[in-house]
């Protein structure tokens, strides 16, 4: 049994009827109405509880939780810059390791969490993240993927899906929006041979919280990729956040899986997948796409999902 499997073998899991009451992230934060990103972060924090140190990259989740003189954080939290949160958390983790060993403190059970958006994770911060994962620090990294730079006004990132309109991948006579396919960040994390990688969605809160809790129990780096709907940037109603997130899973656009000690495990098989078109039409960032475009996306999604099923050893 690998170290991750060993660490989580007795884990029981959360259930909806009996959620922990703890809210390390307090209300009063300034996220948009219906923000799916802070919803995912809130669920994650509930799973982690209070014995945690949080390192935030620059982004929506930093700006909406920390305007001076208030903080929405009930746990220690630090923001330094955009691209370096993985390095900051590495420093915090190393400091705790050294100070515990030297008897300066006696706090061996603290969890170290770093989070950033998709721009922070897949673009500007990928080097620091890669370094921290490669060095094996004991931390959890959460990518809150809302598929563009939302904090600065909806610019494209390498995690923006093909065809999405953003302010720097606009639709025009010669453009259909984003011209590249979404970067496979979880795949990049897996390539670092870390003990735990998982994808999760706030539309499936128990699954998300279980994965966060497991990540905290496993020694070494854990990478979690959260689908984080942004009604403002995706141009859908605030009340739609959870529905879009659910549809993303049901249409195979955002499959839920874990990679435990390098072994892929499908979290839920999409038995009767909804058409990708149903997902796309919920968001006005895709409204310019033609049927041919959508068909091409559907084929790509089908192929990626088939590949994932193969990795998970599940029959199509």
């Amino acid at each position: 049994m690998g170290i991750a499997a060993e660490a989580i073998k007795d884990f029981k899991g959360f259930n909806l009827k009996n959620m922990p009451e703890v809210e390390p992230l307090s209300p009063g934060h300034r996220a948009c109405q219906g923000c799916g990103e802070i919803l995912a972060l809130r669920q994650a924090m509930k799973a982690l509880g209070n014995n945690v140190i949080v390192c935030s990259s620059t982004g929506c989740m930093e700006i909406v939780t920390s305007p001076f003189p208030q903080t929405a954080w009930n746990v220690p939290w630090i923001h330094v810059a955009f691209e370096n949160t993985s390095a900051v958390v590495a420093g915090v983790e190393a400091a705790y390791k050294a100070m515990n060993r030297k008897g300066i403190i006696n706090q061996p059970d603290v969890t170290f969490l770093a989070y950033g958006g998709d721009g922070s994770t897949a673009d500007i911060g990928i080097q620091a993240l890669s370094g921290a994962m490669e060095r094996g620090h004991n931390f959890i990294y959460i990518c809150l993927d809302n598929e563009a730079y939302m904090n600065t006004g909806i610019q494209r990132s390498s995690s923006t899906p093909w065809g999405a309109a953003t302010t720097t991948s606009p639709v025009g006579k010669k453009s259909k929006g984003q011209s590249t396919w979404k970067k496979d960040m979880p795949g990049i994390a897996v390539a670092h041979n870390i003990p735990y990688v998982a994808t999760a969605s706030p539309a499936f809160p128990v699954d998300l919280m279980n994965k966060v809790k497991k990540a905290s129990m496993i020694p070494g780096p854990a990478y979690l990729h959260f689908y984080s709907p942004c009604p403002t940037g995706w141009r859908c109603g605030g009340e739609e956040s959870v529905a879009v997130a659910r549809m993303a899973v049901q249409s195979k656009v955002f499959p839920l899986y874990e990679v435990i000690d390098g072994q892929y495990v499908l979290s839920r098989k999409v038995a009767k997948p909804k058409p990708v078109a149903d997902y796309l039409k919920m968001q006005r960032r895709f409204r310019h796409l033609t049927e041919t475009d959508i068909q091409m996306i559907q084929e790509r999604i089908d192929a990626d999902y088939a590949e994932l099923l193969k990795k998970c050893g599940v029959e199509a």
């Binding site: 909806l16 959620m19 300034r30 919803l39 001076f68 003189p69 208030q70 009340e239």
Partner: protein, 97 residues
Amino acid sequence: MAKETGIMSWKELELGVAVTKPGSAGELRTGDWRSMRPVTDYDKCTKCGQCYIFCPDMVYKKNAEGYYEANLFYCKGCGICAKECPVSCITMVQEGD
């Protein structure tokens, strides 16, 4: 009061402008953002907890009988709870003047 509003002398700042009162954002009435407000029909409610776990603003809290009550001090009126409620017991109603 100065410390709550942030209008303060440089001499009053904590080291590096740190904030030493955890969760102090809880003082902010984000309910002011709302134009629609959720109303729960407890006759229909099954205490399933979906409204609680899907609320981005930690508005819902379980009461003594197990029902989830909305704290409108924070509710921004996004309507996720109404949309997600499996028995449609929450409705969004227009805020009055």
